[in-house]
Symmetry: C2
Subunit: 421 residues, 2 copies
């Protein structure tokens, strides 16, 4: 099939304008209907998903990949519940802010409006289809979806249900469009549609982000890649620090906000590092350590430890590996983070409030932590209700992007036939 992306873009722009003009209740209603329909149509969705899983198995995809691909009744229920939750979040489009009256009497305010049309490019998780649609519709944005080729039958079934829900809610079905051809050329074509698409959100690995940044004429949200650090400063409560480090590393090692490198101040390294490797080693972690840590730890039995290579400190592990480096002081820790962090989530463990403030001031990451696990960087955990991505770029939005981050504003200027002199 030869898809006409220009036409899709045009339709999306039109549908987005329509969506932006309807009442809050209608958008909420669409999500509630979809939430129900996911369960009513469970059979056909799971059947489509079954075909995808079978093909993936035939292609020899890893168990981890199969797990990401898989839908089952309880996962569908979870998707349905999430939609209902998003439906009942406050409407971001009702916000009016920065009201003021200028000296000449002009009345100014900003009014929150949808971004317009989102282009979302993702890989093998079919739940992303529903997550993204929920956030987009709630925030008044049309969306063009481009899922992975592995999920084509799951997405086909989901999109059918989504279109039914939109129609029942009285919204144009082109609010949600799907590029159902896995040919990669359509990703490129989507990235050229700057006339109709306002923001590209890639959800996937580094190479997808790189491809989008290189080829897009549309702003791209960069994110999802976290080389995360915790620095244990000498005043830290070491006993309380251990569970934080453990949590940051092992609670869910495959995600972007998991810990990658532990920095420990020299003065406490001799007593603290053995405790770290014992606790985390028991949890299955292996360690890539610098020379000083090596000297401290090399004689310990039963831990998986090796000397860190230079590139190890620039690696997002996404697994039970932890880099360890000993630093002399806060300054050296900040410098290491500046050199190696991806600006996602970095923290300090300390009892010294002045040093904590210095760390917060100088470390320029989307989320900077004092005495907490990096695992909290998440739209749900931060109280945003949900997230469409975690941005590590600097413009528009940083960190978890929820409903508000899918909006922009317009300036409204009200006068009494004012002229500029």
């Amino acid at each position: 099939m030869n898809m006409n992306l220009h036409e899709m873009g045009k339709q999306a722009r039109w549908a987005g304008r329509k969506l932006a003009s309807v009442a809050s209740e209608q958008r909420t209603e669409a999500l509630s209907i979809l939430s129900e329909k996911l369960l009513e149509h469970a059979e056909e969705i799971l059947e489509g998903n079954g075909q995808d899983v079978q093909r993936a198995r035939e292609l020899g995809l890893s168990e981890a990949m199969l797990d990401r691909l898989l839908l089952n009744p309880s996962r569908l229920q979870g998707m349905s519940d999430d939609l209902r939750r998003v439906a009942h979040l406050p409407d971001p489009l009702e916000e009016i802010f920065e009201e003021r009256v200028l000296p000449n009497g002009l009345r100014l305010h900003k009014r929150r409006v949808p971004l317009g049309v989102l282009g979302v490019i993702y890989e093998s998780r079919p739940n992303v289809t529903v997550d993204v649609v929920g956030l987009a519709i709630k925030s008044g944005n049309a969306v063009i979806l481009r899922g992975g080729s592995e999920t084509i039958e799951s997405n086909r079934a989901l999109i059918r249900v989504i279109h039914q829900a939109l129609m029942e809610a009285g919204l144009p079905e082109n609010c949600v469009q799907w590029i159902d051809d896995p040919d990669r050329k359509y990703v490129y074509e989507l990235l050229q549609l700057d006339e109709f698409v306002d923001l590209i959100i890639p959800r996937g690995g580094a190479s997808l982000h790189e491809f989008c940044r290189k080829n897009s004429r549309i702003p791209v949200i960069t994110g999802g890649i976290g080389i995360c650090h915790l620095f244990v400063e000498e005043s830290a409560d070491l006993e309380k620090s251990l569970p934080v480090i453990l949590n940051a590393k092992v609670q869910r090692p495959t995600v972007c906000n998991a810990l990658d490198t532990l920095l420990v101040q020299r003065s406490i390294a001799d007593i603290f590092l053995p405790e770290v490797v014992r606790l985390l080693g028991d949890a299955g972690v292996s360690f890539k350590v610098d020379e000083i840590a090596w000297d401290i730890l090399k004689d310990y039995q039963g831990i998986r430890i090796s000397r860190a290579q230079p590139e190890d400190f620039d690696t997002e592990w996404l697994s039970l590996i932890l880099g360890i480096r000993v630093v002399n002081d806060l300054e050296e820790a900040i410098e290491h983070i500046a050199q190696h962090s991806t600006g996602h989530s970095d923290g300090i463990l300390t009892q010294n409030t002045a040093l904590a403030e210095k760390f917060v001031q100088r470390v320029d990451s989307a989320a900077v932590y004092v005495n907490a696990s990096t695992r909290f960087t998440d739209g749900g955990q931060f109280g945003l209700g949900a997230e469409v991505a975690i941005s590590t770029q600097r413009i528009h939005a940083r960190g978890p992007m929820g409903l508000r981050e899918l909006t922009t504003y317009k300036w409204v200027v009200e006068g009494m036939y004012h002229v500029r002199s």
Copy 2:
């Protein structure tokens, strides 16, 4: 000379980090020093500018171009005054916002931080060099400048003075770097530096914006192009509307917020249009009108009027030309604006508050006006103190971009050794 843009980027990143960490007073001081130095070094700046102007004259550039290029003592005084004003604006980096305590006791807030490194690509106005440097330094951003080849000697002199001011203020001179080679390949190279540059701000015509959007790996602010509309609804106070239309069209016709197309409701067109063309015609305006307006106006003497071609309603005039179209009602006006506006500044003139609200709700431009001239879309007029650009894109910032729009935020999360469950 062969410039090493990678090295410039690296230096800019380093200098930007330094700049972001100094006290507010030091950034303010740098601007005050520069403000003085511009006057102290007037002679060498004007001499450099004289060389540029002479070369431009030899090349046969238009008087309008020469005027944009020209510096003189009073313009230098203006630049110096503007810098002093920006120096004393509130520091955007002192803002802390969205503070909250989560149910688990984690304390969250957002802290405003600089974007980092700006890449600014502009054309023939040497005052942009100083404007941009003032806003960048005040907001804690390093900047790489790429001015037009016409202004090379003016910029050489200005950059020398800027570097002296930075050094006297104790700031690294690499906070401001200048690509002093007019070879266009360096624009392209700058657009590839996504490792070191956080935002590209083009200031120039449509082709420069197009080139940046097409080639940049870095987010680009699109803006500066305004096809602006005023719709005169039948309830408007026509006598008061005339000076607003006049102001929007003729007060400064060469800028992006000047009026391009006037939409007039059918029911008042017969009585109102003759008054419009008489008043604006006396001010030197000529008109491109649709068929209905033509029928109304064709027999009037002494006005320059012609039938509009379809592309005329997609033209930013930047001169004393006005498109006129007669529409049946608000709906048709909104539809015309949706089709032809660049999303810069559009307004309605009306006494009907319900229709005004409908217009504000449905017209999705950076600035939407009720009963005021479109000429107010400007950082100074909106009370932002100054502006680096007027954005017509939808992400990050819309409309006039002042100091705050050159910043982002970090999330700061403070816990008591919190772990995620």
